[in-house]
Symmetry: C2
Subunit: 136 residues, 2 copies
DNA sequence: TCCTTATATGTACATATAATCAGATATTAG
DNA sequence: CTAATATCTGATTATATGTACATATAAGGA
């Protein structure tokens, strides 16, 4: 069921070229919820302030708010707001000792994504991959 | 130079608790430009429409605009706009054959990030990792 | 208790972003 | 050339998002 090349309409009138392939892709797509969650996670990493804080935590292991602010040249308020969001999404976790709050990465996913991302930007610039023989 | 625990101010009056660690983190942080690029890349994946299109391309290999629209239940215009952004950032590439435009993933980085992300959402939910002994 | 420190929060504002619609471009067929 | 098809683009609008400022909470020290 591939490469039919047929042009057709589904029952709702949606135009398609390769009906078989579309069906294949639809079947392979994750659920809307999963895609939403994943987009959400990527979105959290898609802001420079938050990403910088996370990388700082990746490097430093555990840092208090004011050290995070110092290390990233951000205001403590900005840092606190960003951490609140990250906290809400369980990306970082806090240990309160005395009047300080020490943050660290709490999420294995994000740690891996950060590693993958950092590994590639350190390879100088962008690396384009060959088209790749895709598949059925 | 770790765990000094000293509280101090730098020459510009920035408050810090662990000066040594802050210096360490600052030294280890990627350049602003790199962080910007990385945040940018994550940001592209941080939208459900774009992410869905990219996953569709990851599964389908190469699809024309109308098939992408059909597979993702989005309007062709929305798809086209999203693809334009992705094209501008070299995340996808086009082959125009006749009056059709066939898109595919063009960027090895993104493919890897998608794989990592998808692998983890398929592991049901979130996996928390242990704190990790931070370093030096 | 009062004052200072460390962090958290609310609100407002300014900017950015994405979806939609209408129209433009480009390609093929007749 | 004209008509039809596939994709692209621009403008508008609605919503989301990041940031700054002011204030609130909470802890420790005098």
């Amino acid at each position: 069921m591939r490469g039919t090349g047929s042009i057709g309409l589904d029952s709702c009138g949606v135009r398609m070229v390769d009906i078989g392939k579309v069906a294949e892709v639809v079947a392979a797509l994750p659920s809307i919820d999963n895609l939403e969650d994943l987009a959400d996670a990527f979105g959290l990493l898609g802001d420079q302030s938050r990403l910088t804080l996370l990388v700082a935590l990746l490097e430093g292991g555990e840092l208090c708010v004011c050290d995070l602010a110092a290390a990233t040249s951000m205001s403590e308020s900005t840092v606190s707001h960003a951490l609140r969001l990250l906290r809400a999404h369980r990306v970082v976790s806090v240990s309160r000792r005395g009047r300080m709050a020490y943050y660290r990465l709490a999420d294995g996913h994000v740690r891996l994504l950060l590693d993958v991302g950092l590994a590639h930007i350190s390879h100088t610039a962008i690396m384009y991959s060959e088209p790749g023989s895709e598949s059925s």
